[in-house]
Symmetry: C2
Subunit: 345 residues, 2 copies
Amino acid sequence: MNLKEFARLVGLSQTTVSRALSGYPEVKPETRKRVHDEAVRLGYHPNRSATGLATGRAGAIGVVVRTGIAFEPIFSEFIGGLVGGLERQQIEILVSSVSSLEDELATYQRLAASRRVDAVIIHAPRPVDDRIPFLQQMGTPFIVHGRTETPKDYAFLDIDNFGAVKRATSHLLDLGHRRIASISGPKGQTYVEHRERGIESAFSERGLQADPSLFGNDHFTDEAGYRYTRKFLDNADPPTAVLAGSMMSALGAMRAIRALGMTLGRDISLIVHDDVFPYLNADNMAPTVSTMRSSIRSAGGRIAKFALQLLSGAAPETLQEVWPVELVLRESSGPVPQSRKRRAL
Amino acid sequence: MNLKEFARLVGLSQTTVSRALSGYPEVKPETRKRVHDEAVRLGYHPNRSATGLATGRAGAIGVVVRTGIAFEPIFSEFIGGLVGGLERQQIEILVSSVSSLEDELATYQRLAASRRVDAVIIHAPRPVDDRIPFLQQMGTPFIVHGRTETPKDYAFLDIDNFGAVKRATSHLLDLGHRRIASISGPKGQTYVEHRERGIESAFSERGLQADPSLFGNDHFTDEAGYRYTRKFLDNADPPTAVLAGSMMSALGAMRAIRALGMTLGRDISLIVHDDVFPYLNADNMAPTVSTMRSSIRSAGGRIAKFALQLLSGAAPETLQEVWPVELVLRESSGPVPQSRKRRAL
DNA sequence: CTGAAAGCGCTTACAG
DNA sequence: CTGAAAGCGCTTACAG
């Protein structure tokens, strides 16, 4: 059924019906109500292509995923939050995939030129990220999940990775740890740099220096967590504490610790960045795991709100937030073992 | 830039340009090439709303997610496969979320009536599933990931859950196990029933009977895996083998087994349904974990192909596949412990 | 092989 | 508060 037929059934002109449905003010309340009721009763919904053509609005937000970037468990949660934040907004998420940065840029160009989306969301930004000037030049609204180190004249939502890791590191230093390892994401992404700088800053504030040979970078997999933990613990001067960048890396780290017959929380400490997966709960492990916690689902929900505001004309610079990260101390982290205690330098 | 302007720049009529771009045969090859080259050079892409309005095709496939159904880690992989299978097809995935079955049906109605998608994908079907007659009656093409127990006059891709679990159970029975526990998904979904029937069938083929008090049903979380495994092992006559429905449940099961001081693969066997997550590899655990393996990413890719065929006019009944599941035996499963051996009945 | 023009189903400035 | 009609940017039957 199209508008013409629906309007005939309701006994009004297409104009009035369209206005009633779109919430325009100049329709008599009782007329609006009648139109709404009839639309529900008859199952009428405006053809989205026609609406899109007439208004220039696609009613969708684009998310481009890079295959091969093992983003996986985070992606579900993020999309869940995003889509949840858009529920009942008549705005959907459009997902496409690409295999290279070049393809990613080409996809933004296509999505924008064909008016398929009203805005896009950028993930995993680098300190200097080509996608941002590219989108700005095209005039495509976008929101960055994370941020760059360039001037921030764009909308973004990030968490305070620097502060979170600095606080966790400071806590470990206070407990006497001096050999602290990091298992983080791939080099080149802003959040990875922020986290590593957080470690360095905590050390240098105390006149100490972090050992960069204890920094591992790879995708967040159980396998990488295991591999790096083994490697670091085979070191002549092994770490007494590990910071793991995700629950998946942490699973591997814990496995390595067990394999070496060490007791987590006593022989070695572990603090994990927790994106909050409903199926894998740090509070539930044995021992319970200390975390830097920040719900990626909430971030998705917030970015959905940002997107709606952006489409309502908000200036990108007014849509910028950096969320604090909670440090939740549990059994996996504790004082440095007696045997490994050193005189503070 | 719109078609009118682009056609002017190329020096041809809108008709010819449109036909060249859409791959119609009646365009001179050199004309087509010139149009294509210019489209790339000038970044022209047809307005998707206009194309949609003119053709009646949305160029998108809908996926509706139910929030609260803890589908999470599987979802990323599935969408990854789906989107990958649609790459370069000018077809995107449209994701919406709903919180109830009623909302889900209403969303299909809206997506179909507004011509926002050309087809939808149904997840987690029940033996009798209301969504199927609903979509059939609306005439909306759809593909079921899984299947019902009703007549299958629709397109679907499922895996042989019955056969997989039956084989795994038979293997355990052959090794002398008689107390076999199951930690599966929520009751009421076809795949859960198929898996449980697989266990029962393996038992009854040997004149034995499975103990339904060893069947646990819940979302696939580490927590549920732990809780059920503890509960079953506290039993007066505890299981000697556990079948876990996902890697997440298996993590909890392994944790419970460790907590009780038991050795996996010796004191108790474990076989896990593995959807193949790139970040969590059964081959990499200690001990390595026996699995029933089927890549959910591949399933997503295959369903993308089905969707394309459906949109090209293929009859739904011709798009039906049930994939076999590999049984990969590793260290986590072995003979029943001496102490628990019984005379075969 | 190419083109002029109708039509897809909306929205919205304009008129009343 | 309501309506007639132009226009959004494509595709495609029809004509040549």
